[in-house]
Symmetry: C2
Subunit: 152 residues, 2 copies
């Protein structure tokens, strides 16, 4: 098997990666333009749940919107990068039961302060790939995650 | 100054973070739905340049498209997370001069293989925020970037 070819991940593998990542990025369309937001999230019963504050741009963009959610990472031990993308729709949790259930999820905003809305992404499509990273790209990746002070 | 409030970054600070990150995510709109792709990139003369292979979904979505480009990270020493988003349009490099200039950029695809197109993101809007991460979120972030084998 050629080591450099990307490998499509199974749905189970995708969810394993999503569960490990916890920080993801959400893409939405607002006024026909793409927007992208980093989010902290949890996996709950086959969906991704996150909090967002009332009145934010993200909250406004989410009204029933189609979303794409992405996590990626790099396994230094294996020399392997991976990325997973979920597509689906964002649904604000409305019922008191839904919200109470989600309050018990280990969900913390990156910043303190009110994060009033719980939003669930119900995925209709899950895809992911893993691939060996060549040494040049790897060096770049490592520079990205752990920038060295004197690298130009 | 309340430590928990996000701080808006200046354009210079945004570009410093972008230059350090090198791995970013590109959001585009395809058929009115958001798509998101992790990309390896470089900064060249106030723009972001990356490669993509002919015939890919990303290449198709990029024809003159509005794009959003995001990088994020966490500075463990400062306990500070940051994210930067560029918005603008994607332009495929066409002239031989442009392409030759970009060939000399330290741009490597994550995977080996042909990556034929060079694409430049010309930003029309640059925004970024940094914020202190509370301890719970920080734990989550660290779990995300460096997953511990036995954490549930």
């Amino acid at each position: 098997m050629p080591a450099e070819k990307p490998v499509e991940l199974t749905a189970n593998q995708c969810w394993d990666y999503i569960r490990k990542a916890e920080i993801g990025r959400l893409a939405v369309v607002a006024d026909q333009h793409p927007e992208i937001f980093p989010i902290n999230f949890v996996v709950d019963r086959g969906s991704v749940v996150f909090r967002t504050a009332e009145g934010t741009k993200l909250a406004a963009a989410l009204e029933g919107a189609a979303v794409a959610f992405e996590v990626d990472g790099y396994d230094e031990r294996l020399g392997q990068a991976w990325s997973v993308v979920l597509k689906g729709s964002a649904v604000q949790l409305e019922s008191i039961e839904d919200i109470l259930a989600s309050e018990e999820l280990p969900l913390f905003p990156w910043q303190s302060g009110q994060k009033n809305h719980f939003v669930r992404i119900d995925p209709v499509q899950t895809s992911g790939r893993s691939f060996m990273v060549n040494s040049a790209a790897r060096r770049h990746y490592l520079r990205g995650t752990r920038p060295l002070p004197s690298v130009e």
